[in-house]
């Protein structure tokens, strides 16, 4: 008999719908007289929102992950990128993305339909968070025969050391970027749409963090595999009304699950977390842990903090209140850009590009407050940026008293992930944690 009651998420279909609409709208934008743009999941997407409601983005990391999930297509994309001369040790998302362009095949396929050609973006709006991100789109532009690209330098962190001058520097680039957007699109910029998009961004990101907070409950109302399908909406378009509204709806549902003791894993006996990107083609690892051991992964720093915005308060890691909830009323473009930059640069996932201690501190606090038995770290060969310092993270988490299992893999290149050996390692880890196999 199950230890806890469980139930599927009621809002699951709505999440799927938002994601499907996103990829369909991007593809069909020109049919409606709209525009397409491309940029990273980290980009300041609230800014192009000022060009109009018919301007549709495609963000690169979720697109690369979407391809990685389709293993056969991913293999073809990776091989296409390699045949074109791009090295195998580059960012795996990027190689999937480039391969999709080289093959001219779109990563999104509706059920029963043929794969369509890759929809070429009209402009690129990117920021330079890691060594790959600017070059990524330089290559995209080259492969597509020249697409106007604007890239924002955000190297003013970590947040705790960011100065007003640093904020000014990024705001200035975004302000110049708006002039550039008007020039390359021929559209007049609407500051009211920008302000609305900034409010949406803050609301979506704070609410997602509140949802993750609810996973402190035992049993956990959500597990990591499901959370990947939910957090991703923020990575697609965090500034959209639909995403911000959906997170409000989801939060209410997750609160209800906690109140009624509805578990994500009906036999929850142990709790772990991971760190950054998973090997996307092998998310069944999480199901294996749940079904064989009753072990729930309550999330990861990636799911919590790439979209969620958090702050340290009284030694705890808690959702950051939105500017609007603190009484801030955005009145003009400059203020909107300033609020947006200050908000986005404070997001936790930006910080550990600067030093491993930020990631260690956050993960240790999560391990404590989310009541974890252990931590799993992905030595991810597919992402140099977020794997930086991971061996230091391991030592710090061990020092804090939490057992750590490491596994090697690649978020977007299945050829570098050994599923059987990883499962064997999980077996050993569970055994060492004293978590028995479920009968």
């Amino acid at each position: 008999m199950a230890k806890y009651k469980t139930a599927p998420l009621k809002s699951w279909e709505r999440a799927k719908e938002i994601r499907a609409d996103y990829y369909r709208n991007y593809e069909a934008a020109h049919e409606k007289g709209g525009l397409r743009w491309a940029g990273g999941a980290w980009t300041f997407d609230a800014v192009p929102a000022g060009l109009g409601d018919d301007v549709y983005p495609i963000t690169s990391e979720p697109y690369g992950a979407t391809i990685a999930f389709q293993k056969d297509f991913s293999d073809r994309c990776l091989e296409a990128a390699e045949r074109a001369g791009y090295a195998r040790d580059l960012c795996a998302y990027m190689r999937n993305y480039w391969g999709s362009i080289i093959l001219n095949e779109y990563g999104w396929v509706d059920p029963g339909e043929e794969r369509k050609p890759f929809p070429k973006p009209d402009f690129i709006w990117q920021d330079h968070i890691c060594c790959s991100h600017a070059k990524w789109y330089q290559v995209v532009s080259d492969l597509e025969g020249g697409i106007p690209e604007y890239c924002v330098d955000v190297s003013v962190g970590p947040y705790e050391k960011t100065t007003e001058h640093g904020i000014d520097y990024v705001v200035g680039q975004l302000s110049d970027g708006i002039d550039w957007l008007e020039k390359v699109t021929g559209r007049k910029y609407d500051d009211e749409k920008l302000i609305k998009a900034v409010y949406n961004t803050c609301r979506a990101e704070s609410t997602w963090a509140e949802i993750c907070m609810l996973n402190q409950a035992v049993p956990a109302p959500l597990e990591e595999k499901t959370m990947y399908s939910l957090y991703v909406l923020g990575t697609l378009q965090k500034s959209s009304q639909a995403v911000a509204d959906y997170y409000d709806e989801l939060k209410a549902e997750v609160q209800d699950r906690v109140a009624n003791g509805i578990a994500a894993v009906e036999n929850e006996h142990a709790r772990v977390m991971t760190d950054t990107q998973p090997p996307w083609g092998f998310l069944r690892v999480f199901r294996y842990m749940a079904e064989k051991y009753g072990c729930v992964s309550v999330g990861s720093l990636y799911t919590f903090a790439l979209i969620g915005n958090w702050i340290w308060k009284d030694g705890k890691f808690v959702p950051r209140p939105t500017p609007q909830s603190l009484g801030v009323e955005i009145k003009d473009r400059d203020q909107a850009l300033r609020v947006l930059v200050e908000w986005e640069l404070s997001k936790p996932e930006w910080q550990h590009f600067y030093h491993p201690k930020y990631k260690s501190d956050m993960m240790i606090q999560i391990a404590k407050d989310w009541k974890l038995n252990g931590v799993m770290l992905h030595y991810n060969r597919g992402c140099e940026g977020l794997s930086l310092g991971i061996a230091e993270n391991r030592l710090a988490i061990l020092d804090a008293g939490f057992p750590v299992m490491v596994f090697e893999g690649n978020m977007g290149d299945e050829r570098e992930f050994d599923e059987g050996r990883t499962m064997a390692r999980i077996d050993s880890f569970m055994e060492s944690l004293g978590v028995p196999k479920l009968a």
């Binding site: 057992p403 490491v406 050994d418 050996r421 050993s428 055994e431 060492s432």
Partner: protein, 257 residues
Amino acid sequence: MITTGIDVGSKNVKVVIQEDGKVLGKGSVLAGLDTGAAISEALDAALKDAGIARDKVEKLYATGAGRQEVKDADDSRTEVGADAAGIAYLFPEARTLIDVGAEEGRAIRVDDRGKVVDFAMNERCAAGAGAFTEAMARALEVPLEELGRLSLTSTKAVAMNAQCAVFGESEVVSLIHQKTEKKDIARAVHDAMATRITSMARRVGVEPQVALIGGVAKNPGFVDSLQRDLEMKVFIPDDPEFVSALGVALLAAGIVE
């Protein structure tokens, strides 16, 4: 209580039959392509060695990469758990355990009750495992059994940088062409492998005493290189390749936990 432990490794199937902590019999056969047949054969060999019939065995536990293939096992444990159990019985002073088998190297740190505190394994690479020495012995045209003894006659350290069995082989060929003596190349092979294993062991923290198990523990050249790299002696039990099988046999009997 008579219990049996079966360790289905990537190269060999090892079986131990024990009663009250005393080994009654052992069996080992090549795993080959038909694992099921190899398991039966190894079990038959161990039963014959023990001089008992199958129905005298009260419990049978399995371990190893192919442990699911042991269809009549009462239970199973991972290689890490089996290693820790076996060494906790044979050498309870051990706090660090190094297991080097045909395809995998492992480092395990245990506490004073033999409980696993941390562990590390090699990833998709055989450079820190027995398969590496086999490939290098072939490249040197030396029988595997001779490689260790040959290595011990060397007094010269030759750097071998390759961290991969494939590149290692080409580096051995280069050293041969440079007229490097075989004994020095043999030592270089073991030194390179030992460096890789100690690096893994240091990831979990090397705390004395250190025990070495697995088939590669029978290679004196590797043991010499490992001890030099660790700067300490390691304990090697008799029949080091049977420790995992013994571990699960003891777990089945409840002699260790």
